[in-house]
Every structure is written in structure tokens, then in C-alpha cells.
């Protein structure tokens, strides 16, 4: 029994129960206790995650205890903590109830599991375990029409998508003759990969994950849901849920035998489209579409949460692009990007929440003159947005550099160029926010937000790394490379 490997999960589960119990018992008397408990559980789980075995052993036949899973667990716990704290600073759900906290914990548990799952049943279950609490989290403000609507769209869209994925998964089960990814690998090696059903199943599974990471054409839910949900929840979904989706996708892809034929020198640099397998080509197409659609649609947005939603779609495109190359370097780059994305996007959603809280609207035009009126807020937002654009010397730039280097390294120059150009396009809409905050002269009375030290502290925690890690990122790179072993790719192991 590898209970040690399950310790984070156990702690999270305990946290869920503790929060519910504390909420039931202490309602009215100690409203802060559940939050403390939830944060504590997440921190404990994170701490435990640092000590789980990472030798790649199989835990209870369903989970792989390796550094990749460890890191994803850690990230998701971190995002959970920050999202909870950000919720308390955001525009809604300032005092989250026990249900909210419990659902966040369950979702984090699902994410952690998803990133370790090597069994299709577990994978599907974990997938739903992320989804179902998320549906509720989005609609947590019951009386809010928009939150309701967002929640409904999310649940319907999510269920259909997961239904598509499930159907694909069942075919994979059929091909594998079992539910473990190992069995699938073995079956594919024996020729199952040639079957048309395999490809269809892959496409269906990809549809499910596309929903999870909000990739085209399963991105439709994201703008509406992010706009309707509290900003902090939006951040949680955009970061943690997406990260978990990618982790799950990596697990699945690791068993699909996608190794691309190695080419040499100039021949390699001339490649246009991933040729390892049809799946990678499909993934690349989805990636390009995703980043392009996300960026182009974002050009039109005026509401900050919608804008961030479309931008997060575009970022999913970059991450998918890294995946579509499917090399160790690309995977490390993807992880690197995820870390950067985590800080940037959480910070963006946090700040958006704070501003909506104070201004009562998320319309970018309403931010006029804010940058100069509240300098730290302006600077923090500027750093975050420039980082999202991918401008040096910020974390976002280095992350993009990693991704595109990995893509170029495998020879997909054109893919890289498309991605880079997309990055440049994104400047326009990010800069619009800044333009409104700094460049536009305020019309009439400017509402000066009242911000507390807690807002500042939280922002500092998220924004400082964006700046600092943009300059000293060598260690993250080494760490990301170490976390992604070749075995994860389904190669050489």
C-alpha cells in the first residue's frame, strides 16, 4: 500500500469533510473557520505532495506517482489557496460558504488525481471530479442571473463534451481490452493504432480535453462562464482546471505511441506540421486555431473578464502547440509555460476581481485614469498584462521563449512563427486595458477604489514572481526538465 503517495488526496478529502462539518456546526459563530480549514487542508496537501514518492511507481493500479503528478498536485493546491484568498478579495462571494470551500477542495482533488491517472476509469472519474464541482462553483451566486446562466451553459456544454469523450474512451477500452493506459499502449503497439476507430476515439477524447482546456472548437463555454462567474473562480478554472486538463492529456498521449520520426539538421528545421502521428497534426491544427480564434475574438472585447477568457483560450493554444510537438523539451516548456501562466493569469483575474469589486463594472472603459490614481494597482496590472503579451523581461516572455524554442527545435518553424505573430496580436487587446488605465484622460469624476493591504499583499505574491522569475528562470527550466522524464512521453521507457 502506497498510502504515502495518496496522502495529499487523503488530506484533501479530510479537508472536505472538515469544512462541511465546521460549516454546519459553526455557522454564525465562527464564519472564518471553514476558510481557514480549507486553506489549511490545501497547504497541508501541498506540503504532503512535496514528500510523496516520485519514483514512478504505480499506486493502487490507478495512479502513477511521479514528479509530474507531484508537481501538478502542488500547482493545483497552490492555485486553490490563491483562488480562495482571491475570492475573498473579489467582486462576489466575499465570504465563501462551506459548500464553496468543499467544492474547491474536491475539484483540487480531482485535478491532482487527473494528473496522476494511468487508468481510463480513474481518468474519467477525475475529469468529472473537476467538472462537477466547477459547474456549481460558477453558479454559486444563486440569485445572480448571469451566474446561473453561466453555470447552466457550463454544465450542459461540459456534460456533452464529457459524453463525447466517454464514448471515445469506451472504444479505447475496447481496443485495449482493459482500462489501464498500459494495456492501451500494449494494444496500440500490436497494431490497434492502425484501426480507424482508434483515430475516431482519439478525436473524441481530444474533444473532451478540448473542453477542459477551452480549445477550439470546444471553447464556446469559456467566455460566457468566466464572465458570469466571480473573477476568482474564473481564475481558478482558467488556471487549475486547464492545467489539470493538460496533465490528463499528457497522460493519455503518453500511452498513444506518438513518437515522431527523428530528422536531422536542415531537413528538420524545414518541417511544417507535426508528422509524428495524425493525432499530433490534429493537435497542432487545434492549437493554431485556438490561439488565433482566442486572440482575434479578444480584440473585440470590452469587458475585462470576457477579455481574459478569450486570452486564456489563446494561451491554451500556445500550450497545445507545445504539446503537439511532443518532445521532452516541449513538454518541459509546456510545464514552464503553465507555471508562468499560473502566476500571470491568477494575478490578472485577481486584479480584475478587485477592480470590478470597487468600480461595480468590468467595462475596460470604466478603468479610465485608474493607473495614475492608484499607482500600485496600475503597475501590477501593467506587469501582468505585458507578461501575458510575452514581453521581456517578464515571466511570460521567457515562457513563450521556451515554448517556441521547443517548437523550433523540432523543426516546426511555421508553427512557431504563427504562434509568435499571435503573441504580437495579443498586445493590442492587453494594451487596451492599459490604454484605458493610463493613457485615456478620465471623464468626470473618477471613482477611486478603496483597496486594502490584503489586496496589495495578494497582488504582490502573484506579481512579484512574474517580474523576478522573468530574470532568473534558469532554475525553473532545469526543474521543468527534471520533472518531465522521457517515460512520460511514452518513449524509451
Amino acid at each position: 500500500m502506497d498510502l504515502a503517495a495518496l496522502l495529499p488526496a487523503i488530506l484533501l478529502t479530510a479537508g472536505v469533510l472538515a469544512v462541511i462539518v465546521a460549516d454546519l456546526l459553526g455557522r454564525g459563530t465562527s464564519p472564518g473557520t471553514p476558510l481557514t480549514l480549507a486553506v489549511g487542508a490545501l497547504l497541508l496537501a501541498g506540503w504532503a505532495a512535496m514528500h510523496v514518492p516520485t519514483d514512478g511507481r504505480l499506486v493502487l493500479g490507478a495512479l502513477r506517482a511521479d514528479r509530474f503528478g507531484q508537481v501538478m498536485t502542488l500547482l493545483c493546491c497552490g492555485v486553490g489557496v490563491v483562488s480562495l484568498l482571491a475570492t475573498t478579495r473579489g467582486e462576489a462571494l466575499r465570504k465563501p460558504g462551506g459548500e464553496f470551500l468543499a467544492l474547491v477542495l474536491v475539484a483540487v482533488l480531482g485535478m491532482s488525481t487527473l494528473s496522476m491517472a494511468v487508468d481510463l476509469v480513474t481518468l474519467y472519474l477525475a475529469f468529472e471530479m473537476v467538472s462537477i464541482p466547477s459547474y456549481v462553483l460558477v453558479g454559486m451566486r444563486r440569485a445572480d442571473r448571469l451566474a446561473n446562466e453561466a453555470s447552466m451553459k457550463y454544465v450542459l456544454f461540459g456534460s456533452v463534451s464529457s459524453g463525447l469523450m466517454l464514448f471515445g474512451l469506451t472504444w479505447l477500452v475496447g481496443l485495449a481490452g482493459g482500462t489501464s493506459l498500459e494495456a492501451l499502449r500494449a494494444a496500440l503497439a500490436n497494431g490497434a493504432a492502425e484501426q480507424p476507430v482508434f483515430y475516431v476515439a482519439c478525436a473524441l477524447v481530444l474533444a473532451g480535453f478540448s473542453f477542459k482546456v477551452s480549445a477550439v472548437p470546444f471553447h464556446f463555454w469559456a467566455p460566457d462562464v468566466y464572465a458570469g462567474a466571480p473573477a476568482a473562480v474564473g481564475g481558478f478554472l482558467a488556471v487549475a482546471s486547464k492545467a489539470a486538463g493538460f496533465a490528463g492529456l499528457v497522460r493519455v498521449m503518453g500511452s498513444l505511441d506518438l513518437a515522431a520520426p527523428a530528422l536531422e539538421g536542415a531537413e528538420r528545421l524545414g518541417r511544417v506540421w507535426p508528422k509524428g502521428s495524425a493525432f499530433l497534426g490534429l493537435l497542432a491544427a487545434v492549437a493554431v486555431l485556438t490561439m488565433t480564434v482566442g486572440n482575434l475574438a479578444a480584440l473585440r472585447q470590452r469587458e475585462i473578464k470576457r477579455l481574459l477568457a478569450w486570452s486564456s483560450i489563446a494561451h491554451a493554444g500556445y500550450l497545445l502547440l507545445a504539446l503537439s510537438v511532443w518532445s521532452q523539451g516541449a513538454l518541459a516548456a509546456m510545464l514552464f509555460y503553465l507555471v508562468a501562466y499560473l502566476f500571470m493569469n491568477l494575478a490578472a483575474f485577481l486584479l480584475a476581481g478587485v477592480m470590478i469589486r470597487e468600480l461595480g463594472t468590468g467595462d475596460v472603459e470604466a478603468f479610465r485614469g485608474l493607473g495614475r490614481r492608484v499607482p500600485w494597482l496600475g503597475i501590477a496590472f501593467a506587469i501582468v498584462l505585458f507578461s501575458l503579451t510575452g514581453l521581456p523581461p517578464l515571466f511570460g516572455f521567457v515562457a513563450k521563449l521556451q515554448v517556441f524554442t521547443a517548437i523550433f527545435e523540432q523543426g516546426y518553424v511555421w508553427l512557431g512563427v504563427i504562434g509568435l505573430v499571435n503573441g504580437a496580436i495579443s498586445l493590442y487587446y492587453y494594451a487596451r486595458i492599459l490604454s484605458s488605465m493610463y493613457l485615456a484622460d478620465p471623464e468626470g469624476e473618477v471613482k477611486v477604489p478603496r483597496l486594502s493591504w490584503a489586496d496589495g499583499l495578494l497582488a504582490l505574491v502573484l506579481v512579484a514572481p512574474v517580474l523576478v522569475l522573468g530574470l532568473w528562470w534558469g532554475w525553473i527550466l532545469e526543474w521543468a526538465r527534471a520533472v518531465v522524464p522521457v517515460t512520460l512521453l511514452g518513449m524509451g521507457g
Binding site: M152, K153, L156, F157, V160, S161, L164, P196, Y199, V200, A203, L204, A207, P217, F218, F220, W221, P223, D224, T292, V293, N295, L296, A297, A298, L299, R300, Q301, E365, I425, Y428, R432, S435, S436, A440
Partner: protein
């Protein structure tokens, strides 16, 4: 000769600097200072001239040379001072005329609010002209060449608070700048072939055939084109008459004696690289210009305009001489012309001064009694330019015609015709201004002779106009520099071996004299002797010609319609397209810009244009599509998603 050369150059430079920055605060606004400096230069020039007279024929000394910069991989580019006979003569002419013009200006410009500034720019002009003359290499020469252009611009537009001088100065600068393009072409071609700008090396290369025939022709024509611009030859002559908007001393100095002659000087200087074809071009342009400008001059009523066209015509003469291979004849004419034309300009200045800036000769007449000194000296000038024997113009013009007779008989007749015309319109000018009855009594009554500062220069120049011809005996000084080698280059091209050949051609001299005399006589008859009715009768058959002449052969109109308007139209077109098309098409930030513009409350039509055209507009539109698909209905979302998957699956398998 280094010291006098440097002093010669630096004295007016110092004068300019002091005068420009402090002139206004000096006593008498510093005119004495500039006289002093230019006087010093004159003294130096005289000393150089005297030294030069003692040198052997065809001498050439590079008295100073310094590396200036070295942008290439080879030898550095230098600035250098070279003195030869031509330089010595030019220095003398330039400094002398400059000095006299300075002196004249003391009286002429008296009371002008920018009196000091005028002298400052006169000084700067002198410096620039001296740089040009002293230059030992083409680049250095070009610097002087451009600087005289600047000074010309500044001085023509000296009264630029009025519109006409402003326009005239601009026209002068831009027109000569067009000519400068030729100079640049020559510089580039020569440097590309020779790798140096030094005259000796250029000429040596030309002789050794380093300069291929094609490039040599290009370089020579380039040089000549520059000269055409500067010396107001066809087709770039249009600026010079307009330049008469400048103060008259300026016209005398720059637009009669020195700067416009710089073109002639340049061609003479670069003669060794002129192949026969180029010389032919020079001669033809010169001859045609001489005749055409003479024709136009006949129909002008503004004294200065008459003189201006006369200058153009005389410069044409010089080029004719050069083009015929009569190197020294052209230069000789340059010298004599400098004197008598400066004399006439200053004389006209004196008249204008006397008549309170009235320049229209139809309002003058009978001024001889009021301005005897001016009238007489002016008369001497007229006689000199008309080529009356034993005056300077006779000798120099004769030499040119002789050369033309030998080389291009057709052009000889052109020259002869223009000689006749010259005498004719000069007589007209003189008669109209000084003789007859005053046509405007008011002007007449107030006319008075200027102060001595104005009359002395007239006298000096009159004397020179008479005697300069005897300098013909010293034309050895004007023998081609660089000794026999360069002479050889010239001789290569032509029949003309013996330069003395021209001077003793009695037949040509006779014809020339006759033409001059005829012109004078005709002028006297037409403008003095016969009645108005007879004049009209005489005029009638010539009416079309007169109309053409009076409107200067419509050059200005032609250029306006052919070049200026299209250029402006093009500029406007480009400017418009730059806002919309290029902007939009290149990467379409215009489209994005529309958004930004809306934010700032302003929309730009072109930007909107760009938005539609550019790829940025495309991005914007596609963004709209993506955004519109997001219509809010979850069923539609699901429809798109599922349909995409289904379609993909089918397409993937069926095809």
C-alpha cells in the same frame, strides 16, 4: 603661396562669424570690418596673382592638403588648396568684385534694417566662392559649390518678408540643386572609377583611360549639368531672372560676376575629362542659350531683368567658347564679363537707388544728366559688352567666336547673332534709361547720384572694363594647368592645337565688330531716332516673336505644368496612400487603430480605409466572426462543436 591663400580664405570667414553674431552691435553695424576683411583678401589675391605671373606657364601648386576623412578603405578624402593660373585670376576677379560690391553696398544698403546681416552674408559668399576656387579636389569644390548656393539663397531672399524674393530664392536654390544632381552623379562616377577626388589623379586617370568612355561621358555631362544649373543655361536658366529680386549688389556679385560664372569655371576645371561628345553638348547648349537669352532680353522692361538675360546670354558665350575647345577664351570672357557686367549691375543699382527702387525702364529716361557718372560708366559697360574694339569685351568675344568659327560654324553664326542682339538690347537699355525724355517726371526729379562709396566702384570697374582686354596678352596665365599633360588631353579632341590661332583671325574679328556695330546702330535707330508709329510698324511683323520673347518662351509655365504640378500631385497621392493603403496593407495596425481612435474620440478616414483593406482589418473582421459565433445560445455552441467533430470524422474517413 600658402599664407596668402589661407589669409584670403580665413579673413572673410572671420568677418562672417563676427559680423553674423556681433555685427549689429558693432559701430556702423560692422561694414568697415567686412570691407577690411575683404580688402585683406583682395590684397592677398593680388599678391597671389603677382606671384603667379612669375610662374611658368601651366603651373599648378597644391599648397596645402589635409586628410579630411576616410570613409573608404583607400586613401583618405582631403581638403586641399591648389593654386594655378586660373585660380589666381579667379581669386583676383572674385575678391575685387566682392570688395567693390561691399563698398557699393555701404551706400546702397544704407538704412536697411538688416544692414549688418547683409554684409555678413556677403562675407560668407566670398568665403564660399573662394573655397570653390581654391579647391584642389572635386569634393572640396562641391562644398564651395553648395555653399555659394546657400549664400545666393540667403541673399536673393534677403528681403524675404516680401513674397517675391522668398519665391525667387527658393526657385534659385532648388533649380541649382537639380543641377547639383549632375554634380553628384559626376562625383560618384569619378570616385567609382578613380577612387579619389583629387584633380591631378582624376585627370591622370582620364588620360590613362581608367575612366571608361561611357562613365567619362556621364561624369562630364554630370559636371556640365551642374554648371548648367549654376550658370543658368538652358534648360535651367529660369531661376536667374527671378533672382533679380535680391538686392542689386548681390546681383552684381553673385548673379553676374562670380557665382554664375562658377559653372564656367567648373567646366574649365574639369575640361580634361570632357570627351568630344560632351564638348559638343557644351557648345550647343551655350550657343543656343546665348541666342535665346538675347532674344528674351530684348523684350524685357525691368533693367535688372535685361541684365539678367544678358548674363545668361554671355554665360552661354563662355560655354560656347569652352565647348569649342577654346579653354582660355571662355575664361577670358568670364573675366572681362565679370567686370563689365558687375559694372552694369552696379550702375543699374545706382539708377535704382536714385529712382527709389524703381526698376522699370519705361518709367525712366533722360537720367544721364541727373546721374552723369553712372551714365557714362554704364555706357562704357554697354560698349564693352557690345564688343566695341579696344574695349575688353571685344577681345574675349572675338576669341570665342574665332574658336567657334573653327569648330562649329553653325554655332558661330548663332554667336554672331547673339552678339548683334547683345549690342541691340544693350543700346535699348541705355537709351531707354539714360537718354531721351524722362517718362516719369516724379522719378526723374528725385533722382540723384549716390555717395562716393557707390560711384567709386563704378569708376574702378569702368576702367577695368576698358583695360581688361589687354589681359589677353597675359592669357598664358589662363593656359590649362597641369602643364602639357592636360593640354594634351584637350588637344586630343580637336583641331585646335594652337590657342593663339583664334586671336589673330582677322575675318572673325571683322565680322564680330560688324555685328556689334550693327546692333548698336540698330538700337540707336530703333529706340532713339524713329517715331513711335514707325516703331509700331516695324514691330507688327515681329509680334509673335516678341510675344514669345516677352513671355520668356514660356519656360516657367512649362515647368510648372510638367514638373511642379505632377510632383505635388504625386506627393499628395503618396501622402494620402500612406495614411490608408500602405498603412493598412502592410500589417493593418490601421484596423486596430480604428479602435484606438474611437477610444480617443477621433476617427481617421484613412485609418478606416486601412481597416477595411489591411490584414489588420481582416483580423478585426475575423475577430468579429469568432465573437459573433459566441451568440449566447449554448445550443448553438454545442451545435458548432459537435458539427465540427462530426464533420472532421467524416471528412477524415471518407476522403
Amino acid at each position: 603661396m600658402l599664407t596668402p591663400a589661407l589669409v584670403l580664405l580665413l579673413a572673410p570667414l572671420a568677418g562672417f562669424v563676427i559680423q553674423y553674431f556681433a555685427g549689429r552691435r558693432l559701430p556702423r553695424q560692422g561694414d568697415w570690418l567686412t570691407l577690411l576683411t575683404i580688402g585683406t583678401s583682395l590684397a592677398c589675391a593680388v599678391s597671389i596673382l603677382l606671384t603667379a605671373l612669375a610662374e611658368p606657364v601651366g603651373f599648378s601648386h597644391t599648397v596645402w592638403s589635409a586628410a579630411w576623412m576616410n570613409p573608404g578603405a583607400g586613401d583618405p578624402w582631403t581638403v586641399s588648396i591648389t593654386i594655378d593660373g586660373l585660380t589666381a585670376v579667379m581669386l583676383f576677379v572674385v575678391t575685387l568684385v566682392a570688395f567693390l560690391v561691399h563698398l557699393f553696398s555701404v551706400g546702397y544698403m544704407h538704412g536697411d534694417p538688416k544692414y549688418w546681416l547683409f554684409f555678413a552674408w556677403l562675407q560668407m559668399f566670398s568665403v564660399s566662392m573662394l573655397i570653390l576656387v581654391l579647391a584642389g579636389n572635386l569634393l572640396h569644390l562641391f562644398i564651395g559649390w553648395e555653399l555659394v548656393g546657400l549664400c545666393s539663397y540667403k541673399l536673393i531672399g534677403f528681403w524675404s518678408e516680401k513674397k517675391a524674393p522668398g519665391n525667387a530664392s527658393r526657385k534659385a536654390f532648388i533649380t541649382t540643386r537639380i543641377g547639383d544632381v549632375g554634380m553628384l552623379v559626376a562625383i560618384m562616377a569619378i570616385y567609382a572609377a578613380v577612387g579619389s577626388f583629387e584633380f591631378p589623379r582624376i585627370f591622370a586617370a582620364a588620360q590613362q583611360g581608367l575612366l571608361s568612355d561611357g562613365w567619362m561621358l556621364v561624369a562630364a555631362l554630370g559636371v556640365f549639368f551642374a554648371a548648367v544649373g549654376k550658370s543658368a543655361q538652358l534648360p535651367l536658366h529660369v531661376w536667374l531672372p527671378d533672382a533679380m529680386e535680391g538686392p542689386t549688389p548681390v546681383s552684381a556679385l553673385i548673379h553676374a560676376a562670380t557665382m554664375v560664372a562658377a559653372g564656367v569655371y567648373l567646366v574649365a576645371r574639369m575640361m580634361p575629362i570632357f570627351p568630344p561628345e560632351a564638348l559638343t553638348v557644351v557648345a550647343v547648349v551655350g550657343g543656343v542659350t546665348a541666342l535665346m537669352a538675347g532674344l528674351i532680353a530684348v523684350a524685357q522692361n525691368d533693367i535688372k531683368k535685361v541684365l539678367a538675360y544678358s548674363t545668361v546670354s554671355q554665360l552661354g558665350y563662355m560655354f560656347l567658347g569652352l565647348g569649342c575647345g577654346a579653354w582660355h577664351a571662355g575664361l577670358f570672357h568670364l573675366t572681362t564679363h565679370a567686370f563689365f557686367k558687375a559694372l552694369m549691375f552696379l550702375g543699374s543699382g545706382s539708377v535704382i537707388h536714385a529712382c527709389h527702387h524703381e526698376q522699370d525702364m519705361r518709367k525712366m529716361g533722360g537720367l544721364l544728366r541727373k546721374l552723369p557718372l553712372t551714365g557714362i560708366t554704364f555706357g562704357i559697360g554697354v560698349l564693352a559688352i557690345a564688343g566695341v574694339p579696344f574695349l575688353s569685351g571685344f577681345y574675349s568675344k572675338d576669341a570665342i567666336l574665332a574658336a567657334a568659327w573653327h569648330r562649329f560654324p553653325v554655332l558661330f553664326w548663332l554667336g554672331l547673332g547673339s552678339a548683334l542682339l547683345t549690342a541691340f538690347y544693350m543700346t535699348r537699355l541705355f537709351v531707354g534709361t539714360f537718354l531721351g525724355k524722362p517718362k516719369d517726371q516724379h522719378v526723374h526729379d528725385h533722382a540723384h547720384e549716390g555717395p562716393p562709396t557707390m560711384t567709386v566702384p563704378l569708376l574702378v570697374l569702368a576702367v577695368l572694363s576698358v583695360v581688361a582686354g589687354y589681359g589677353a596678352w597675359h592669357t598664358d596665365l589662363l593656359a590649362p594647368p597641369l602643364g602639357e599633360r592636360a593640354v594634351g588631353v584637350i588637344q586630343r579632341f580637336d583641331t585646335v592645337g594652337d590657342t593663339a590661332h583664334f586671336e589673330h583671325s582677322g575675318f572673325v574679328a571683322m565680322l564680330a565688330t560688324a555685328a556689334g556695330a550693327l546692333g548698336l546702330l540698330l538700337g540707336l535707330v530703333v529706340f532713339r531716332a524713329i517715331s513711335t508709329a514707325a516703331k509700331d510698324a516695324l514691330r507688327r511683323p515681329l509680334a509673335p516673336l516678341e510675344a514669345a520673347c516677352a513671355s520668356k518662351f514660356w519656360f516657367d509655365e512649362l515647368y510648372r505644368d510638367m514638373f511642379l504640378r505632377p510632383a505635388y500631385a504625386l506627393a499628395r497621392l503618396f501622402s494620402w496612400s500612406d495614411g490608408g493603403v500602405v498603412d493598412g496593407a502592410v500589417n493593418g495596425a490601421g484596423a486596430l487603430g480604428r479602435r484606438g481612435a474611437r477610444v480617443s474620440g477621433a476617427t481617421d478616414r484613412h485609418v478606416v480605409d486601412g481597416a477595411v483593406r489591411g490584414s489588420g482589418g481582416l483580423a478585426w473582421l475575423l475577430g468579429g466572426i469568432a465573437s459573433r459565433l459566441q451568440g449566447g445560445r449554448v445550443r448553438a455552441y454545442l451545435g458548432w462543436s459537435v458539427a465540427a467533430v462530426a464533420l472532421f470524422l467524416v471528412l477524415r474517413q471518407v476522403f
